[in-house]
């Protein structure tokens, strides 16, 4: 099976609140306030693809759009045992909106060999919009399913996709090629690459495309074209108004806590 996994590089979501800062544009996080890492759901997607390949064979291509630093995410993907990397360089400082990203990815995908399955992460750990996968599918005219945690082949032409739902899960039979967004589960925790594979990954050739290579104007990725435009970004003030329960004995404190909880429980 020929699988494409889209990898997004993001500001490390583990950045402590005290280090988090907004850049001079006022519209996005300061990239200098933390490391850049691969979005966890994208790594879950790659892991799901790798497991499919381990079981059924095939090839895994990884693609990433962003500044040159996205090469790190692609190299890590190779170290995890993806086969071929594609980098689309966009040095426009602002993060493009999901619709613009999907358009660029779709343009690149049309230039590539055909895929049976295209995977994205469920959402990203920075903006968490969760829109790119669905828009990408529409751009490509393909079916889409979100929140997938298990993929398996069904004969030659279809795939079984297991979707996590609010109350459990459900399965879809989807024709190939399909687009799916992957969520985290107990089964797709990203593997840790071996040191040897990390070294090998750094030697692999990387295909780099600029926007011109894809015949996309830089204008198309400028913020005045965005369908979803960030107007304001602010760090909420953390105001602590916690009433710490006091008392002479633990028992007294527990009694007060119980009274407070019971008051809410009775009102429910």
């Amino acid at each position: 099976m020929n699988i494409l996994v889209c990898l997004k590089q993001i500001l490390d979501p583990e950045v402590p609140v005290r280090d988090f800062a907004i850049d001079s544009s006022g519209l996005q996080a300061d990239p200098a306030c933390a490391n850049q890492v691969t979005n966890i759901f994208c790594e879950n997607a790659l892991e799901s693809a790798l497991q499919l390949k381990d079981l059924h064979g095939g090839k895994i291509t990884v693609i990433s759009l962003g500044p040159e630093s996205v090469e790190d995410s692609l190299r890590k993907g190779l170290a995890m045992k993806a086969d071929e990397p594609f980098m689309i360089v966009n040095n426009n400082g602002l993060l493009p909106d999901s619709a613009a990203v999907a358009k660029v990815l779709a343009t690149a995908i049309r230039k590539m060999e055909p895929f049976d399955l295209i995977l994205t992460g469920r959402e990203s750990g920075d903006w968490g919009a969760g829109q790119t996968g669905g828009i990408l599918a529409e751009e490509l005219g393909l079916p889409f399913t979100a929140f997938i945690d298990e993929v398996s082949p069904e004969g030659d032409d279809r795939l079984i996709l297991r979707q996590q739902t609010d109350s459990g899960w459900q399965k879809f039979s989807a024709p190939k090629p399909a687009v799916a967004s992957i969520t985290n589960s107990d089964h797709n925790l990203p593997r840790i690459p071996k040191t040897r594979d990390i070294i090998m990954a750094n030697r692999k050739p990387l295909t780099t495309w600029t926007l011109e290579d894809l015949e996309i104007s830089a204008e198309a990725l400028s913020s005045n074209q965005y369908k979803a435009r960030v107007r304001k970004l602010s760090i909420p003030e953390s105001k602590s108004e916690c009433e710490f329960i006091e008392g002479d004995t633990t028992e007294e404190k527990i009694q007060k806590l119980a009274d407070k909880i019971a008051a809410i429980a009775r009102a429910v």
């Binding site: 529409e138 602590s240 710490f244 329960i245 009274d259 407070k260």
Partner: protein, 324 residues
């Protein structure tokens, strides 16, 4: 956009009266009021259903679609139906809830209609011809105001935490819609499995008792389950506790888990990392039991107890059993 009055469409994909439906209808009703427009609600089932009769108290028009695929929550059937109705009605905004199906079809719908999409909205408002969405980003470390510049704005909202809809002085009309929902369905829904959840979904829970890494292992969760029982509450956990395999991943609340909005979220031995807080930000009240008075969780609490949970949970359960 429509030339005369603006139209707001609210799509209720699960025909059930619950907190999520009430909040979603509230969001649509308020946006219609703000734009001076009409509020049209789309839902499944017959036009004579009890649900439709209830919904019309909060809408100008209810359009019902009697289709098995829609009732079974087949995503592409909903996508087709909302697309067709929207291309006729030309709404300025389409609002959906935060269920899996609504989240899945939001970006696709926007693309089909030439509009703009956003998810996880905590507030939706009108700004002239465009729609503004407020949402929590960067794992809850920042809040963004996002303008959807293309019409229609297709937005899924945090339905449970929205103010419920008000009963309108005049009820709306109900008409049976006529759309071939089942054409062009490519992904066949072949199996549905509901977890044998005791009681309601976490998203609908009124009280949640949650545990974190500080519990040290799976055993103390049994005590939290017992405490939850007394409170008629649901149990949840932080990502750390789920990743360590102490409790199922379906319990996970936070940025990568579920987003909840209970009347009370009781966090036991949870430090309160921003990713966790993102999942509980819509709680009406948060309370914590933690040994560390400087734990970030206390910054978000209405009340808290600095104490080792081991000294608290058992006696607390006994006292609550007496009080309730």
């Amino acid at each position: 956009m429509s030339e005369d009055t603006s139209i707001i469409i609210t799509a209720v994909v699960t025909a059930e009266l619950n907190t999520a439906t009430a909040g979603l209808l509230g969001a649509g009703q308020r946006l219609a009021k703000e734009t001076g427009g009409e509020h049209i609600v789309l839902t499944s089932g017959g036009s004579d259903s009890e649900f439709a009769a209830k919904v019309k108290e909060h809408a100008d028009h209810v359009i019902t679609f009697d289709s098995e695929d829609l009732a079974n929550n087949q995503p592409e059937a909903w996508l087709n139906t909302i697309s067709v109705v929207s291309s006729q009605k030309k709404p300025s905004a389409i609002l959906l809830g935060n269920d899996t199906l609504s989240q899945e079809i939001t970006p696709r719908l926007a693309h089909r209609l030439g509009g703009a999409s956003s998810g996880d909205a905590q507030a939706v408002s009108a700004n002239g011809d465009t729609i503004l969405v407020t949402r929590s980003v960067y794992g809850g470390k920042a809040e963004a105001e996002i303008e959807l510049t293309a019409s229609p704005a297709v937005v899924w909202v945090r339905a449970q935490s929205m103010e419920p809809a008000e009963t309108q002085p005049t009820s709306g009309t109900i008409v049976a819609g006529d759309v071939d929902a089942s054409s062009d369905i490519r992904n066949k829904l072949i199996e549905t499995h509901a977890e044998e959840a005791e009681g309601e979904r976490l998203e609908d829970a009124q009280i949640i008792v949650s545990g974190g890494r500080g519990l040290g292992g799976p055993e103390p969760f049994e005590e939290l389950v017992a405490l939850a029982k007394v409170l008629k509450a649901q149990n949840a956990a932080s990502r750390a506790a789920c990743d360590l395999g102490w409790v199922p991943h379906s319990w996970q609340v936070g940025q990568t888990g579920r987003k909840v909005a209970p009347q009370l979220y009781l966090a036991v031995a949870i430090s309160g990392a921003s990713q966790h807080m993102m999942g509980i930000a819509d709680s009406k009240a948060i309370a914590a039991i933690n040994t560390d008075p400087d734990a970030p969780i206390f910054k978000h609490c209405q009340f808290g107890l600095v104490e080792d949970y081991q000294n608290v949970i058992g006696p607390l359960k006994t006292k609550l059993a007496e009080l309730l």
